[in-house]
Amino acid sequence: MITRTLLFAAILTPAIVFGGSTPISKAPTDGNLRAGNDSVLRVNSTNQAYDFFRPWTKKSPFSRRGLGALIEGGYILVTAELVGNSNYVELEKATTAEKSGAIVERVDYECNLALLRPADQKFLEGMKPLAIDEGAQVGDRATVIQLESNGEIAETSGILTSITTAGYPMDNMGLLIFRLSAPLQQRDGSFTLPVMRGGRLLGLLMRYDARSQTADLIPPPVIRHFLKEAAKENYGGFARAGMAFTSTRDPQLRKFIGLDQPGGVYVTEILPGGAAETAGMKKGDVILAINGLPIDQDGNYEDKEFGRISFSHVTNTVSHPGDTIQFKIFREGATFDLPVHLTARDRSKMLSESYFMDRPPKYVILGGLVFLELSRPFLQEWGADWVKSAPQRLVAYDAFQYEKPRDRGKVVFLSQVLPSPETLGYESLENVIVSKVNGREIRSLADLAEAAKHPVDGFHEIEFEEDPGKIFLDAAGVEGSRDRLQKEYSLPALERL
């Protein structure tokens, strides 16, 4: 179904796998590649994610290794995934194994890029920054840089087979990618690898499918957009038009809506609060052109540099938040221009955030009842099959969050019970959505913490959207048992807001 593809394609992206069976390919160097040794650093990141079932604890730390590319300004460019939830990031010179701690200067999970800076800027002395490539075409050769264990550069040549827009790993945002066909070997422990063309940085490899020997690169336009935003005082990120569309290939649909000119895409969804909604775009509108570029029936335009690609490249990457784009709209037989003022998404306003990195999840423990705010990473704790195995009401809230009233706020739920004398009889409750506490509407954990300061007649009355309806706690008992609860379950704190 169309809407599901939009919201859940992230689950379908193939796993990033390195195969061990591909033969080593020592492709001929393409000229200036020796420069790679002076421009590439090993990046070791120790990452640790929070446990969403026990949000007061972190899971076991794990290490990721990748290669970063030194770029102008003394920054090392890596994928955001490499340093996601990092505790400690370390740079290592390829040949001398000299090390330096690093600071994550800027990270954007939507475009999967991060900028690192060594703790000591002198560390980079003698190294040469890479220029970002321009003008790559389908059919061009490019070289993936890896390091042998002795620090020598290992090069694998590949061919740029397609330039298209596709969902990025973390948030499934549709951005430009370069697809490279190259037989890669597992060497550096991760998929974050610089890719070079003629001595310039063509992109960062971010995922590789060993079976099809296909690598997806973050291409120069996305890198440039990220760097331009990162240079600003306020990082603006990537803009979204805030709507979904579908093809108008179906001749019966074209005839029915009276669309007698070629091309155009049919708007199927307008995201609440997004740019398209603010501009007055409507479901059922047909987008014929943007900024004077005709859009075909599948949503592609003719890009001067890359050929036929989705117009989302113009809205998301070529443009920046704050820019205005002219949409040519066909609605009920009439054609008119509609200026859309692009905005980046305010993630904090999402009912259920699609990813949750580098910050601890909130929680409140009352008496032994553990309350959380819904987010997709919580649901993903159920494993690969979370869409079917996680609590279905919460999954539905996450999936259909854009259909809820805009002031719905966060979904606060009782995730589990740490049994205590106060919670006697409530032990089996889990994953039930809270509607009110002490008569007050709950639209965030902060609301719940505030409501818990105002017990009624000595009791906390907690009401749910579903069974068991409501439960009570003894307010004095909850207060009196705080220390004991904290000690018995080794809780560092009873709330984190």
Binding site: M1, D250, G284, Q392, V395, L424, E461, E466
Partner: protein
């Protein structure tokens, strides 16, 4: 396909048993059944056969399990010592408690047969004997065991009903289904389900006589009405703070109502948050049990023994004040969406190669669709009162690919919301909408921004082509 009814591992009965008297009442049932095919609903479905047991009761009737004779097209029964199969027919079938009554029109069949009488609930640890035609041979088999437990358990035939059951440790195996479980010459239960040996050892279940007697009483008027239900959920009241907040003393009584399901008996009478203290005068413990006939049972047991139109009285606390409620009992229809259905023909409409079907448990188990919205609507049909606007969830279940519907593939398992502006609340609305003359049929799915558009002229031209190519023998069936 041939199968024996009931699934279990095999264990030998240890002691000799006096099988002779029961043999004069025992019946071997052979059923030929036809399972409807929800994936190609115009097809008649696969035919299979099976064997189960039954026993003669008063009035020349044979009692067995509903699952032995469900979807039956042809039934024969035979008795011990007479190899001749007699054609039989179903008098009454109760899928919610897995019981059925058959009869044989040939009066000779009952000659020499003895009707069995029913006993009560056997004591825990007392011995019982199980009779039937289980796997391992074709003749009558007897096993013996003791009564392990008396409890409320799900009845897997319907998949959504729970009633009183008796657990026994006698071997119950495929083919035992419908056979009598005897004690002191009386039937104390009907063997019906168990765990396979992989899950649990020596756990078999029988339908106890209160359930059997209720069934027999229900059909006295010539019609089976189904079980009635309060259709409320309730929760234990152990928590001292909850008891104090609700003004209850610390006497261990009362349960709190969590949900009152719309369309159910108690809808509009009982309210969420009510504390139920007594049911028909019997005090309710705070774990939801009552004392009945000297045994501790779920409070629902009071309702279990009643019939459509009967009333149940409740003593409750509402906002701290005692009130008396009287609930006329009925069947909660929205719940039946989640029950396995039998003896029903799949309903569907085919139009322009698009297949539309109403969603129920049979549909979901045939397709197991991944679509999140469909799964939400099905799972929360009762809880979120989806049935109010949409007594039936109608989906586009399949596309018989043809040039006229080649762009409809993305819409599979979409829920049909409107056709040409007409709200689709049940399958019949789909048939009506397509029967209305129009140049275009605009099918709007729930939560999908783009409609499916079919040109009438194109549908007319494609009709014979699609029906012929896919062997569709009927374009619609609107009757169960």
């Amino acid at each position: 396909m041939f199968r024996l009814f009931l699934l279990l591992s095999f264990v030998f009965a240890a002691a000799p048993l006096q099988a002779a008297p029961v043999a004069r009442s025992l019946v071997r049932i052979e059923a030929t059944s036809q399972e409807p095919n929800y994936r190609t609903p115009w097809n008649p479905g696969e035919v299979s056969g099976g064997v189960g047991a039954g026993f003669v009761i008063s009035g020349n009737r044979i009692m067995t399990n509903a699952h032995v004779v469900s979807n039956a097209r042809f039934l024969t029964v035979s008795k011990e010592g007479d190899p001749k199969p007699y054609p039989a027919r179903v008098l009454h079938i109760a899928h919610d408690c897995d019981l059925a009554l058959l009869t044989v029109d040939d009066a000779r069949f009952f000659q020499g047969m003895a009707a069995l009488d029913f006993g009560g609930i056997p004591e825990i640890e007392s011995s019982v004997s199980v009779y039937g035609y289980p796997i391992g041979g074709s003749k009558l088999s007897v096993t013996r065991g003791i009564v392990s437990r008396v409890d409320f358990q799900p009845y897997s035939h319907s998949g959504m009903d729970s009633h009183l059951t008796i657990q026994i440790d006698a071997a119950i195996n495929p083919g035992n289904s419908g056979g009598p479980v005897m004690q002191d010459g009386k039937v104390v239960g009907v063997a019906f389900q168990g765990y396979s040996g992989d899950v649990a050892q020596n756990v078999g279940y029988m339908i106890p006589t209160p359930v059997v007697r209720r069934f027999l009483k229900d059909v006295e008027d010539g019609h089976y009405d189904r079980y009635v239900d309060l259709a409320v959920s309730y929760h234990s009241l152990f928590n001292p703070a909850a008891r104090a907040a609700l003004g209850l003393s610390d006497d261990g009584t009362g349960v709190m109502v969590g949900s009152v399901y719309g369309g159910g008996s108690a809808d509009g009478i009982v309210l969420p948050g009510d504390v139920l203290l007594k049911i028909d005068g019997l005090p309710i413990s705070s774990d939801g049990t009552i004392e009945m006939d000297g045994k501790s049972v779920q409070l629902a047991e009071v309702v279990e023994r009643k019939f459509k139109g009967d009333r149940v009285s409740l003593d409750a606390l509402r906002d701290g004040k005692p009130i008396k409620l009287s609930v006329p009992l009925d069947q909660p229809w929205p719940f039946t969406l989640h029950a396995n259905a039998y003896n029903e023909n799949p309903r569907f409409v085919v139009f322009g190669g698009l297949v539309f079907q109403p969603v129920d448990e049979n549909f979901m188990s045939a397709f197991d669709p991944d679509d999140l919205r469909l799964r939400y609507m099905f799972d929360f049909f009762v809880d979120d009162k989806i049935y109010r606007d949409r007594p039936e969830i109608v989906v586009l279940s399949g596309i018989l690919a043809d040039p006229i519907n080649t762009y409809a593939g993305d819409f599979r398992f979409g829920i049909v919301d409107e056709i040409n502006g007409r709200k689709i609340q049940r399958l019949d609305d789909v048939a009506t909408a397509f029967a209305d003359p129009a140049d275009y049929y605009v099918i709007q799915m729930l939560g999908i921004g783009r409609p499916i558009v079919l040109e009438r002229q194109a549908v007319v031209e494609a009709r014979d082509r699609i029906l012929g190519r896919y062997g569709v023998t009927r374009e619609q069936n609107l009757v169960k």
